[in-house]
């Protein structure tokens, strides 16, 4: 018995020895390795040596955090969390007076959002790296992130919409970014019984024009569709450029217990929208302008300040007024993902509750339209015959299909929520080639460029809803995660999993080379047009206007100018307008004031930001730099003397005992 155990142990060790060294020796050609993910080669393939850069950027939605996280792939290292729809005290986003207008809506200031689907701008169907768009689901909005500054520079609210989910996907040349409503609502909003939903509620699909020069967004038109739920969407590309496809569910038009009542129909629809046709109709004066109220918030990088404008009108289009522009393609069982392959020929509808994946053919759809191959209509919109548009189906692929991306080599990758796996299958033959588990319950997946004409099919990133036992536990609330697979071989190989910020609904990825060289290093002081910018220390001032005191100060390693301020009184509203005079890369400074009912400021070189402090107590109160800026960072501090209301202490401000002005 003892001998037998010994033999087994010896055998085990030597097997382990061989296997582990075998992996090390495959170092040089790891990408062609066919080993499982357990070996060391997986570690080496995601290892980015200290000081080296990742090959890809991944912009991963923060879900209910409201933000957008920037990771490197293959390492999974987190570089930045870009604040988009939620306040961020770390960066003063939504706290300082400059960015607070970004979160203004028709409902007033909303400090939180639910961010979902990032999409990088495209030219000729390929990623161009100008902007990243992302939708907010709860209070419907679309944001634009500038990919030179990695900052949110514009947010537009979507009127007549609710649950802004089939968003924010761009057309082939970023002519439009598109936002569809998941929840249908009364249009215009009005006081009416909920159970009169059917036939009365509308689903608005919004086409937002993107100015090619500055990216400015403007709602060109809204199509008021029947009151279904519009779940996801993607543009046509190549031959199908000019069309947009939306999955629908709840074609039953249920208004309660949708879990049951919206799962009755055997088939729902993919709505095919010929937006070029509608664009032309609108250009010729078509559509109806209706009153609306929605916020359009724009950040100006020269004033470093956002302004919010309330828009009062939107152009709506009734589908029946543009015959030949909109069709329904029956698609089994509440389809979720709506994904178009790189050629633009195949439209994949992932029926959440279906036993198979349905793939429609664009060319067959056009033929069916020409032949009027209809199977009735819904609210005046022709329903094409299921068989006439069907290209094929993937049989028994898994349970609960959600989303599909493409590798540009003729393969598609679909996530299955219920069976918790990624399945690779072949376009055209519809055969399943491989399947790999995810841990656990995968939602979206992303291949860099995998929803464009030119995917970079090296990795797929699966984003999971549940992690349970995958990491060290952190109480009842545990992280969600992303998992990276190598897809260069015949079989997928899991390389890495890493925690994410919030729930990672979808991501957009691109080669690092597309953005790296354009990433801004600083803001030029000369270009700073902030009304309270102070560009030289000797121009710093402190000015009283009634009970407002404006401190127009500068910061540079490692002092504030001025740093001794007197004459402030209890009950004053004190504005700290602070300019960072540094003109070097990666030298931000921060500032915070004891007891201020707001966040710190974190100010980049050449930038001006403002916080408000309302002192409530007499005394001498310090402020200091919050971002370790130099060896003398701990010395970067100052004092404000607060006197009782009505005190005769005059406003004075000094640095090193001297007045600042020449």
């Amino acid at each position: 018995m003892m001998n037998k155990i010994k033999q087994i142990i010896v055998l085990m060790f030597f097997t382990g020895l061989l296997a582990s060294c075998g992996n090390i020796s495959s170092n040089g050609n790891s990408s062609t390795s066919s080993r499982g993910a357990i070996g060391n080669s997986a570690a080496e393939r995601v290892y980015v040596a200290p000081g080296d850069h990742d090959e890809f950027y991944a912009f991963v939605s923060g879900g209910f955090s409201g933000q957008l996280a920037v990771y490197g792939l293959p390492s999974g290292r987190l570089f930045k969390v870009i604040p988009v729809f939620s306040q961020d005290a770390e960066k003063a986003y939504g706290y300082n007076t400059e960015t607070t207008p970004m979160l203004n809506t028709s409902h007033g200031f909303v400090p939180w959002g639910d961010s979902h689907h990032p999409d990088i701008s495209q030219t000729n169907g390929e990623l161009d790296g100008r902007w990243c768009f992302i939708n907010e689901n709860n209070t419907p909005r679309i944001a634009k992130i500038d990919l030179t500054t990695f900052e949110t520079t514009e947010i537009i609210e979507i009127p007549n919409s609710a649950g802004n989910h089939s968003s924010s996907f761009v057309t082939e040349n970023t002519e439009y970014v598109v936002a569809g409503t998941r929840f249908s609502v009364p249009v215009p909003q009005r006081d009416m019984p909920i159970n009169e939903y059917k036939g009365n509620f509308k689903g608005a699909l919004s086409f937002i024009k993107v100015d090619q020069k500055d990216g400015n967004m403007d709602i060109a038109f809204q199509i008021l569709m029947p009151g279904f739920n519009y779940d996801l969407s993607h543009p046509g590309r190549g031959d199908s450029h000019g069309w947009f496809f939306f999955t629908t569910y709840n074609t039953e038009e249920a208004n309660s217990l949708l879990e049951v009542n919206a799962s009755q129909n055997d088939k729902d629809f993919i709505a095919a929208i010929n937006w070029k046709k509608i664009e032309e109709y609108v250009k010729n004066g078509g559509g109806t302008k209706v009153p609306a109220n929605y916020a359009h918030n724009v950040y100006d990088e020269h004033t470093h300040t956002a302004t919010s404008t309330m828009m009062k009108e939107v152009l709506t289009v009734n589908p029946s007024d543009v015959p030949g522009a909109i069709y329904f393609m029956p698609t089994p069982k509440s389809p979720h993902g709506c994904d178009v392959d790189p050629s633009g020929e195949y439209i994949v509808g992932n029926g959440k509750l279906a036993a198979e994946l349905t793939i429609h053919s664009f060319s067959k759809m056009i033929k069916a339209i020409e032949n009027k191959d209809y199977d009735g209509e819904a609210y005046g919109i022709p329903i094409l015959k299921y068989e006439s548009t069907l290209a094929g189906s993937v049989k028994q692929p898994g349970l609960g299909p959600l989303h599909t991306e493409f590798d540009g080599k003729g393969n598609a990758y679909t996530t299955f929520f219920i069976s918790s796996e990624v399945v690779k299958w072949k376009l055209g033959t519809w055969e399943v080639l491989d399947r790999k588990p995810t841990y656990y319950s995968v939602g979206h997946l992303m291949i860099p460029g995998g929803n464009s004409r030119k995917p970079f099919g090296k990795y797929v990133l699966a984003m999971n809803k549940i992690t349970k036992d995958r990491y060290l536990p952190t109480g009842p609330e545990v992280t969600q995660s992303a998992q990276l697979y190598d897809i260069t071989g015949d079989k997928m190989e899991m390389l890495l999993d890493f925690p994410t910020i919030g729930e990672p609904h979808y991501a957009a990825g691109c080669p690092a080379s597309l953005l790296e060289a354009n990433s801004r290093k600083l803001y030029k002081l000369e270009d700073n047009k902030h009304p309270y910018a102070v560009k030289r220390e000797d121009q710093a001032t402190v000015v009283r206007k009634g009970n407002e005191v404006h401190i127009n100060m500068t910061m540079i390693r490692s002092h504030f100018a001025p740093d001794n301020i007197e004459g402030v009184q209890v009950g004053d509203k004190v504005f700290f307008h602070v300019t960072n005079l540094e003109q070097d890369y990666d030298v931000p400074h921060g500032i915070s004031m004891i007891g201020a009912n707001t966040s710190e400021l974190l100010i980049m070189p050449g930038q001006t930001e403002t916080f408000i402090w309302e002192p409530k107590q007499v005394g001498v109160w310090p402020f200091y730099c919050t971002d370790f800026c130099s060896a003398l960072h701990q010395e970067m501090q100052g004092y404000v003397r607060v006197s009782p209301k009505g005190s005769s202490v005059p406003i004075t401000y000094t640095l090193d005992g001297d007045a600042l002005t020449e």
Binding site: K6, V10, N27, G51, R536, Q583
Partner: protein, 162 residues
């Protein structure tokens, strides 16, 4: 006991056989984070360096000064006020040293390289390294152009004790 010994033997074998994989460690040390050989060399003692023989490290290799160009000096004065004065006062020590009399202490090339390339200078130039040790606050790179730095240099030539 026997079992443990077997385990140790096997583990040692594992280590030795895998230790031959030195291609990886080579890759790790050949990146640019490794200190360069020059830096490891013994530094010259500060006392042995005559500052007026040093041109510094940066884009300015050689510069001959003519008569003072008052117009250029005035331009330099404006740039100095905009970009430098938060740390340098013309005639007294402040966050950094005063430029008063600098033309007697430093070569014109060194001055311009210190303005244009401070990050490298404070790491590699013996005088700049001494200054960083003395002042603690590193000379900030204010991203001046060569023309702007030249104008500031001209302004330095005109600073006189008050």
């Amino acid at each position: 006991m026997i079992l443990r010994r077997i385990a140790v033997v096997a583990f040692v074998a594992l280590l030795t056989s895998c230790g031959s994989d030195d291609s990886k460690s080579e890759r790790l040390t050949s990146d640019n984070t490794t200190p360069k050989k020059e830096e490891v060399k013994k530094e010259a003692k500060p006392a042995e360096v005559d500052p007026m023989t040093l041109k510094g490290i940066g884009p300015i290799k050689s510069l001959t000064l003519g008569e003072i160009d008052e117009k250029l000096a005035e331009e330099g004065h404006v740039i100095f006020k905009d970009k430098c004065k938060a740390c340098h006062k013309p005639t007294k020590k402040y966050i950094g040293p005063s430029p008063l009399g600098i033309m007697e202490r430093r070569t014109p090339e060194w001055i311009m390289n210190m303005i244009l390339n401070p990050d490298v200078m404070v790491k590699e130039d013996p005088i700049a390294k001494q200054l960083l040790a003395e002042y603690s606050s590193p000379m900030a790179n204010q991203n001046l152009t060569e023309d702007e730095a030249r104008a500031v240099l001209e302004y330095f030539r005109t600073i006189k004790k008050k």
